[in-house]
Symmetry: C2
Subunit: 239 residues, 2 copies
């Protein structure tokens, strides 16, 4: 098992450590939860472990579908070995059902099914509050090339199809989710970051009960239990 070396980066929910292999890093999932651009903060017991396992299930499933991801292996309860990438500074949001900021932007009630998939790009900038950007903003800011952007959008739409169908079997609705992509040393575009209840909206298909970070954002309680329920429905994850 690759040994952790110095910490390369600490984000809101994860730490990233260098390893002896310059092409690999170790991601350590934290229990810290933040919302509203860091204005709301808390610790959710067990979240780091749950998200590491949930993301492991999703990355493995997507890899079997041919989606290129940074995932290499799950090392421990909180640690994931991934390929080292340079992150494209865009949050890619894919939506199937109106919720959150989209419900506000379009003036649609939360829960209304979108007749077509919506794909949005947000500029990853804490300072600016992650603003929505269009392709001409991305071009001016040089956040991605036109070619990368086309590839990112296409991957986002494919990942949506795979995740939706995978989750439907577990009686879960995939309302929307956020992806991040990175470029490895060879220039390959890979799905990076995580896929978890921190970055997705999951609703029970029958009751529409929220089983994701909205329980924290909106003070609905039973946050940890919701994350546990997601892992349980995914069939759990054994190291």
């Amino acid at each position: 098992m690759p040994a952790k070396q110095s910490m390369m980066y600490e984000g809101k929910a994860k730490k990233v450590f260098l390893t002896e292999d310059p092409t690999l890093v170790i991601v350590e999932y934290k229990d810290d939860a933040t919302a509203f651009n860091g204005q709301k903060k808390a610790q959710i017991a067990g979240k780091g472990e749950l998200n590491n396992k949930i993301a492991s299930v999703f990355f493995r499933m997507l890899q079997t579908k041919g989606i290129p991801t940074h995932y290499v292996d799950t090392l421990s309860d909180r640690e994931m070995l991934v390929k080292k990438v340079s992150i494209v500074p865009l949050e890619v949001v894919v939506r199937n059902i109106a919720a959150g900021s989209l419900a506000q932007r379009l003036g649609w009630e939360e829960g209304r099914v979108l007749p077509k998939t919506v794909v949005e790009f947000y500029y990853k900038s804490d300072e600016l509050g992650d603003p929505l950007v269009n392709t001409s903003h991305i071009d001016v800011l040089e956040l991605a090339t036109h070619e990368q952007l086309v590839q990112i959008e296409e991957l986002g739409r494919q990942i949506n199809i795979h995740l939706k169908s995978f989750l439907a079997d577990k009686n879960l609705l995939l309302v929307d989710f956020k992806l991040e992509f990175g470029v490895d040393e060879e220039g390959n575009l890979l799905l990076a970051d995580e896929i978890s209840p921190d970055t997705c909206r999951f609703w029970d298909a029958d009751t529409k009960e929220k089983l994701d970070k909205d329980r924290f954002r909106r003070d609905l309680g039973s946050v940890e239990e919701a994350y546990e329920e997601i892992l349980r429905r995914l069939g759990g994850f054994t190291l």
Copy 2:
């Protein structure tokens, strides 16, 4: 001269009247000024007349360049005869220099020249505060067809080239501007609304003095004088 019949619509800065010809309407330019989605209101003496004349100059120039517009004739100091169109509910913003909301969105200082033209679409909705939308939002809201959107963006970019060059000859910088488009009874897409200091940012090319509605928005004074200066530099307009 076509006679005004009943008022069809009253907006923030214009009234629109039916005529005996069902394909033509008369636009009457008002002195009312609003900003920040109607939260700031005032009357600017002479603004209606100035904008009617300034817009007449721009529409006539653009028509000589082959841009399809709703403009037919200037009837009086405040009245313009235009083709009746169904307005596409999008504000199309074309930008050459960072200012206003773009400076905030990108975190760029006002006045920085954009390396590439930025084109933005805002959903015309007072209730929602005219939010920025991307092509997938426009698709879901059915605000325009994909074909119309491609044509609108292309027209916006062409209009920018013509306006920039026309204004450069008058020692004016075209910082950014807002366009609206409409569809006539035959299905033709036409440039509609107005082009004036209410809808554009014009800066003196040497001093960078603002000669547009930002004087009102930002309480810089001499609003009417700025609009008069624009008309003067355009060579005036005689009925």
